[in-house]
């Protein structure tokens, strides 16, 4: 045990030196996922037949296949058609595109859970559908989506470790490098596991605070 503590104190700084990369991937992926997810959800909710079909296919494909394969497809595959990306960018895009599929479903579910009367009331005071969506439905839907969205954000934080497989020097890669140097593979992966548990714990707490701050008085989720 004291051996491990000594090991941890020695190598934790190296692992944490990759924290900005991990967090950077995470934040960018969430932003991409939220933007694209909102578009996809709108497409599935209000789009014509073709928009609906395209958005649905996108969601099903990204939810039905592994992130690792998606990442390989983007990083190793796209250069075949002339799109060359560095590992970091490829990972951000892969995680972002994947996350968009999930976030779209959460948004869609949240919008659909809002009582019909809200849209009717907005139209009744003269709003267009788009105005009603923007000013009345979305502000309510976004609040409702926060609990699921928090789970998704935590999942994505863990997904960033998959970028290890295409050579992004995030925390897991750093850990592996330490492993090769010290041959204490187990200890170093245990250490990185602990870092993730703490990190996901902190994020969960922060999102929980956000959830409470944004709740509408008197409205139960």
């Amino acid at each position: 045990m004291s051996d491990f503590i000594a090991f941890a104190t020695e190598h934790l700084p190296t692992i944490l030196s990759a924290l900005p990369i991990t967090l950077g991937m995470w934040v960018l992926a969430i932003v991409i996922g939220a933007g694209l997810g909102l578009l996809l959800a709108t497409g599935r909710l209000y789009g014509g037949r073709i928009t609906y079909a395209l958005a649905t296919t996108y969601v099903e494909v990204f939810r039905g296949t592994p992130m690792l394969v998606q990442m390989f497809f983007i990083y190793f595959g796209l250069p075949e058609i002339g799109i060359v990306l560095d590992p970091f960018t490829a990972a951000v895009i892969a995680i972002g595109l994947n996350s968009a599929a999930y976030q779209a479903e959460y948004f869609r579910g949240a919008v659909r859970s809002i009582p019909q009367g809200q849209m009717v009331a907005a139209r009744a005071i003269g709003m267009t559908r788009l105005q009603a969506l923007r000013n009345v439905l979305l502000p309510q839907a976004l609040r409702r989506v926060i609990p699921q969205w928090s789970n998704e954000a935590i999942l994505e934080l863990k997904y960033t470790s998959i970028a290890y497989a295409i050579g992004v020097s995030e925390m897991t890669s750093k850990a592996e490098q330490i492993g090769y140097k010290t041959f204490h593979f187990f200890e170093v992966f245990l250490l990185v596991a602990i870092v993730y548990v703490v990190l996901t714990g902190i994020v969960a707490q922060l999102l929980h605070v956000l959830e409470r701050r944004t709740s509408i008085p008197g409205v139960n989720r």
């Binding site: 039905g64 595959g77 593979f185 992966f189 596991a193």
Partner: protein
């Protein structure tokens, strides 16, 4: 040309798919057995069991699958030579235990309290009440939430790639290196295979959910 390459290599991909499915079945079975035991301990056990069960769930849900796989492979390897496949089963099985215990806990707690009271009132022991009354009702509710778990574990099997399990994704990489290219198409076929298995699995679970419905009881929302 490309079509020919793909057709020639389909058997390898199917081999890889078969390994992925074996991995999936093993890890889900481990998760089922231990997840159920853990859930029962949490619901009916002493509060210390509940607390440690919750801590287990929290920890194993907080560790990325990939890190868990590496940790189990090297961790067990420290004491005992372990092949990549069982290491992956162990890692993902532990993770699945954490997720499935949450599912089981939910469905067990959803069984109305009066059901146990009624079973006890005709003279059943606590264990009999759980076995004959609570579990038959709770387990019927499992296929719905279980389809999420099935999907996410199927996709997680691809991560066994990183410790050298020759599953579907790795077979894809092998074909790409041996044919020097065709990256997009090979990964597309690999993705399609995962997609089909996922789709089939979810259909089976949906059918099971329907078949297990109790007549007259409103179907509970499954997500």
């Amino acid at each position: 040309m490309i079509v020919e390459i793909i057709i020639n290599h389909i058997p390898y991909l199917l081999d890889g798919l078969w390994v992925a499915i074996q991995l999936l079945v093993c890890l889900l079975a481990i998760g089922f057995v231990f997840g159920l035991l853990l859930a029962l301990a949490e619901v009916y056990g002493h509060w210390t069991l509940r607390a440690s069960g919750m801590a287990f769930e929290r920890v194993f849900r907080g560790i990325p699958e990939l890190v868990l796989i590496l940790m189990c492979f090297y961790g067990v390897g420290n004491w005992y030579p372990i092949e990549p496949f069982p290491a992956a089963v162990l890692a993902l099985g532990l993770r699945s235990t954490a997720y499935q215990s949450q599912i089981f806990r939910g469905v067990i707690q959803a069984v109305p309290k009066g059901q146990i009271a009624a079973a006890r009132a005709i003279g059943m022991s606590g264990v009999q009440a759980v076995r004959y009354v609570v579990l038959p009702q709770a387990l019927r509710q499992v296929p719905g939430p279980w389809s999420n778990e099935f999907s996410s574990e199927l996709k997680a099997t691809s991560l066994a790639y990183v410790i050298g399990v020759v599953e579907l994704t790795r077979q894809g990489r092998y074909i790409i290196s041996s044919t020097q290219g065709n990256i997009l198409i090979v990964f597309a076929v690999v993705a399609l295979m995962y997609f089909v298995v996922n789709w089939l699995g979810n259909r089976v679970l949906y059918r099971a959910e329907r078949a297990l419905e109790i007549p007259g009881l409103e179907r509970r929302e499954s997500d």
